[in-house]
Every structure is written in C-alpha cells, then in structure tokens.
C-alpha cells in the first residue's frame, strides 16, 4: 500500500466533512419543475433518438403513478421531496474539448483538491477515469488503450450516439423504468452516466473508474450506468463520490445496471462519501439508488462491494439476479453512519438457476444518533436446485444513542437449497481501547483501528487504490461517540 494505516489515521482523524467546497463553473440550468416538457428538453438537448425519448416519457408516466404513494417499507420516514422544486438539467457550458487544456481550470482544480488528478498519476495507477462533473462528462481518458481491446468505456450520452444498438438492447433490461419511483424518475430525466462494454473473451486490463460529483445548487443528480460483459469477459469498475457542502438537501437517484453473460465476471466497487449533513442533521444528500445486476449466462459472476460513509439518507440495495446455472452473486458492504445519518441498505439475491451461489457480508457501524439498517432478501425460485446462500450481517454500535437494525427476508421455494444466516451485534469494548492506549494510540486512533479491523473482510475485496481511500473514510472523527 502506498500509505500506511498510520498516515491515514493521522490525516483523517478529527476531520469535518473535508470535501465541502464548491466549484464555480458556468452552468446551463433548466428552471425547476418536472413535466413532459422537461423530459423533451433534456432529450432534445442531448440529441437523442426518438425511441429513447419515448422510453423516457414512459419513465415519467410511471414516476407520476408511483410517486402518488411514496414507499413506506423502509426503516425511516421518507422526507417530503418536492419534485417540482428540483432542476433536472445542468451542464457546464463549455462542451466539446480536444485536450485537457480546454477543461475549465476550476474543474481541474476541484479534482486536484479531491486528490483525483486526471493525468499522469492515473496513468501510473493504471486507472482510466471517466470524470463526471454534474451531468456531462468533462473528460474521458484511456479511450485509445481500451479501444485496442475492443472495450467501450464512455459516457452514456456518447454511447447513445455511437452505440445505439447496444444501449437499446440493454438499457432498462435489469432495472426497468417501472421498477420503483426513483428508478422511474431516473429513466425520465437521467442526465448522463457511464457506459461500459467488454467484448467476448476480453479481460479489461485496468480498473475502470468514475468519479461523480454533485455540483449544482438545487440540482438533483440522475446518473445512469450500464455495464455489459460479454461471454468470458471480465471487468472491474470503481465508483467514488464526494459532494460539496450545501445547506439544502440534494436528491440523488442513480441507476446502475450490470449484465454478465456466460462465464463473464463483473466486479463493481463503490466508495460513497457524499455530504452527510451537519452535526444536527441539517442538509446532506438523499441517496436513493437502484443497483442491480443479472448473471444471465451460466458460470457468470457479479460482485458488489460498497463502503458507504456519506449521505444524510442512503437507500440502496445492490442486487443480483442469478439466472444462469452455476452463477455467483456477492455483496460486501460496510455502512457507517454517525450524527443523524440514516442508512437503509442491503441486497437481494434472486436465485433462479441451478447450483447458483450467493454470499452476503454486511458490516454496519453506527455512531451518534444515526440509524443503520441492513435489509436483505434471499429468494430461491422453484427451479434453483442446490442453490446456496451464506449471509453474515454484523453491527457495531458506538455509543448508546444510535440504532442498528437487521431485516433479513428469506423466501425459499426449493427444498434442495442451503441457506445460512449469521448475525452479530457488538460494541467496542473498553478494554480493547485501553489496550491500544497502552501501546501509545490515543482513543480516536484506537477506535479507527478497531473499526477498520471490523470492516477488514469487506475492505479486502476492494481494489488497492480504493481500499486506501475507504480506510481513510472509516477513520473519520468519532469524537464523543465512544466511552
């Protein structure tokens, strides 16, 4: 690892939300409001084909229906969201860029502050970055290198223009526009996002990475990501997020769809650190995301790994539909909440094929006044002979004012299936902290070390660059939440 745990703990202990700055870039913003005109405007602005406009309009129709009755099953009260008060389109004015010199220096400076240089450092690190600043891709790197292998990695907007057949075939095939209210909203107004296609037999030679950044006041962010791995292909995709500090709530409703064909493997890793609101629970991002993958072919594999530390509310259940025989689904999650944050997160593993296997490792860490829920569903269909699932969900409580909740649903329709569920709830013991104190670590560092140890099993599944970042995020100030 380039940095030791020590450095990380040092640097990140006792920090407020570090990425709370905003970039002044000229924006082209649509006035608030959501109707057919809005959708048509977005579609026209992006020069989209007619079929996509129609698809978006269906999304709008479903959104109108679904938003009549907002979901109530989650373990928190959904705050009222005035969808008419949100602006659904914002794009940096300067658009077509030939080189890095043309990128707005402020945007570049923002990425620098975030520690995400677009240039040589990423080349050295072997990461291709499709940087998304608000709605439009600012810059895409490594295109050439990937193109040599036949891999397509570009913004969704470009994919719609250059690869319409692929987009048309797969868009909405895993998360349809009728799926849920936020997915419907996304279908109607999605701005941009990332598209990745790995052809048959190709192993993507580098980690693909996208950094999202919500950056326009009062503008929701509606990313749409689509990743397709053809037969025998492999791809690892990283998604990392930070957002500038804001007073008003920001809505984020992204959709991610993964499609793995025969013997293909997709690994999708997320580190989420959006603005969580202040210490009193004001502000912060509402993160309502729909992520789902399908293991379409036999022996395919989809693995979700997530480290969720930000957002005022996280509502997110990255799932896998195990359709192909012998396919594998994995979900590794660390969700950390503090102050007044709410996380309701987990996964669904839908076993349809024979000999399908799934593994769920969820680690919740709650501090302050936060509420942290694991919600998971394991479903075994009647034809899924010999399906297997192992679920482990652990909760760690820091302090006595937070909550940890577990909602595991199991629905098994095949007698040959084997399902295991383990759950623990624990607190950091005083004697653990004292032991580390006695070896020279102050209490904050001791807690950070213990928390990182607790999350180790999940962090180990992250690619190296991300593992370091994730450790930093977990080592954030836990002042007053212990002892």
């Amino acid at each position: 690892m380039p940095t030791t745990d020590q450095d990380i703990l040092q640097k990140y202990s006792d920090q407020e939300y570090e990425f709370g700055f905003e970039t002044r870039v000229e924006m082209e913003i649509l006035p608030p409001g959501l109707n057919e005109e809005t959708v048509r405007f977005i579609s026209a602005k992006k020069e989209e084909p007619e079929w996509l406009l129609q698809w978006r309009l269906k999304g709008l129709e479903h959104f109108r229906r679904l938003s009549q009755e907002m979901p109530e099953w989650q373990n928190f009260k959904l705050p009222h969201i005035d969808f008419q008060a949100i602006s659904y389109y914002a794009a940096p004015k300067k658009r077509k860029l030939n080189s890095l010199d043309e990128v707005d220096p402020e945007i570049l400076a923002t990425f620098e502050k975030l520690g995400i240089p677009l240039e040589e450092q990423k080349v050295l690190a072997g990461v291709a970055v499709d940087a998304v600043m608000d709605s439009v891709s600012v810059k895409t790197t490594f295109q050439e290198k990937l193109r040599e292998k036949g891999i397509i990695f570009c913004s969704m907007g470009e994919a719609i223009k250059n690869h319409p057949d692929l987009v048309k075939k797969y868009l909405g095939s895993v998360v349809p526009y009728s799926d849920n209210v936020f997915a419907a909203l996304n279908a109607a107004v999605f701005s941009d996002g990332s598209f990745c296609y790995v052809p048959k037999g190709v192993r993507c030679p580098m980690e693909l990475s996208t950094y999202f950044r919500i950056n326009a006041s009062n503008t929701g962010q509606f990313e749409r990501t689509l990743i397709i791995a053809e037969e025998g292909a492999y791809v690892s995709y990283l998604e990392g997020c930070t957002a500038p500090k804001r007073d008003e709530n920001q809505l984020h409703a992204a959709v991610v769809e993964l499609i793995a064909l025969d013997h293909a493997e997709i690994k999708y890793s997320t580190v989420q650190n959006w603005f969580p609101g202040d210490k009193n629970g004001n502000g912060g991002v509402f993160n309502f995301v729909t992520k789902r993958g399908i293991c379409k072919g036999p022996h395919s594999k989809i693995s979700w790994t997530q480290v969720e530390t930000g957002s005022a509310i996280t509502w997110k259940y990255p799932s896998v539909i195990l359709q192909g025989d012998y396919s594998v689904g994995e979900f590794y999650s660390v969700a950390m909440t503090r102050n007044h944050q709410i996380a309701d997160t987990g996964t669904k593993m839908i076993h349809l094929g024979k000999h399908t296997r799934s593994r769920i490792i969820s680690k919740g860490i709650s501090a302050g006044y936060s509420q942290n829920s694991y919600r998971g569903q394991v479903r075994v269909g009647p034809r899924a002979d010999y399906a297997r699932n192992f679920t482990q969900c652990d909760s760690l409580l820091l302090g006595d004012k937070c909550g940890a909740h577990t909602f595991p649903y199991i629905d098994c329709q095949n007698p040959t299936a084997i399902l295991e569920h383990e759950a623990t709830t624990s607190k950091i013991a005083e004697d653990q902290i004292f032991y580390l104190n006695q070896r020279g670590l102050d209490t904050e560092k001791a807690v950070a070390l213990i928390v990182n140890g607790y999350a180790r099993e999940v962090l180990n599944n992250l690619p190296m660059e991300f593992a370091v970042e994730a450790q930093k995020l977990l080592a954030i100030s836990l002042d007053g939440s212990v002892g």
Binding site: Q432, R439, G440, L449
Partner: protein
Amino acid sequence: MLQIKNLQASVNGEPILKGVDLEVKAGEIHAIMGPNGSGKSTLASVLAGNELYEVTGGEVWFEGKNLLEMAPEIRAREGLFMAFQYPVEIPGVSNINFLKTALAEIREHRGLPPLSAKEFMQRLKEKQELVEFNASLVNRSLNEGFSGGEKKRNEILQLAMLEPKLAILDETDSGLDIDALRIVANGVNKLRSKDNAFIIITHYQRLLQYIIPDYVHVLYDGRIIKSGTKELAYELEEKGYDWIKESVQASLS
C-alpha cells in the same frame, strides 16, 4: 526512574491500594509478589492509567514527570509498557499493522521518523527471533484465536519492538507451561539493560527462577509489607504467604 509515594487507589469506591511506596532505578528488576487480592494487578493498572481505577492519594513520578497527570497513551509514549495479564483480541487488525502503528506513535513522540517498511521488517525479524515468536502469528489478527501462551509471548514481542524504559509484567507467567515460561523469561533477560527497568508482578516464585530480580517486594492488603532480595522469594515459596500474613498481624497486634 520511577518513584511511587504513598499511592492509594480504589475500585468502585472500595480502597485497594492503601499507601504503596516503591522506587525503581534504571537497570533494576523488581518483583512484586503477594497473595490473591492483595492489589498487585491494581498497582499495574494504576501505573498504566486504566480509568477503572481511581487514584485517591499519593504521587507517582516517572523520569521526573508526574505520571498520574498523563493520559494512558502518553505514559506509553513516554516509555511505560504493561504486559497484560489478559491481552485482548482485536479482530481484523493485523498484528504487524498494529505493531507498526504503535511504534510510529511512540517514535513520533520521541521526535523520530517512522521506520521505513524495510527497517521495520528487519527489526521485527530480529525481535521475533529474540523472543522465539512464531513468524506466522505476526500476520494474523491481533491475538485473535491465539492460545494463552501465544498471547503472552505476543506481549513480550511487543515489549521487544517498542523498547520501553519501564516494563510492567502483570502475571505474565500465569497460564504458561514450562517451555513458554522459559521462552518468556529468556526474552526478558535478553531485553534487560542498564537503561531499562522491569517490574514483574507474580503470584508464584517459579518465574523468578528464570528472571533473577534485584529486589522482591511483598504486597499485602494494599501495602508493601516486606522488601528483600531474591532470597525473599525462595522464603515465600517455602513458607507460603500465611507466614507473612501472620507476621504482619502479629506486628499490628
């Protein structure tokens, strides 16, 4: 190095230490013996700064500084080390990462830069050999799934790595078989120097067959009631603690 003057401490309002006096100089090994419940482990915990114990009187000076005013981590960084009677397990935190973190913390306090990865590994290798520590254990999670003996030896490895000025061994011999006992004792003997000091807290005399103390003190009912040289330990082994208790009670009445 260490001056303890009339130290008094209680747990949950109950007085345990009732006026302990002790002076430890560099280069010395002091053994503190005593029957169960006499306050031996309380003394170790108070010196290490465990907040479960309340200091109700007296003073403690460590290298000329007021030890009782320091947070536990500062005491550690100043060079006070306690080998725990019951070392805790910390799942997911590798032994090696923990050692690196602790060492960097202590070195920083002393104005030294952290060791490079190479220097650290070199030092770890040397110390592992010195205390005969199984190399595979350093990559495991801290004490997790270690046997009782392995945990105690891990304490000695940490002692070797962190190079404290004063090491307090709190019943390190309890639960050790004769081979582990010998290994732990050998480790301590190799680590002792004219610049450091040890306080060895033990119920039995057997560890003192391997680590020869300069002084032996008997703690009873929260006070040091008798001090002597290593012969005192032999005498205690022979006659038992009742002999001391009786002589104390006789002198009181």
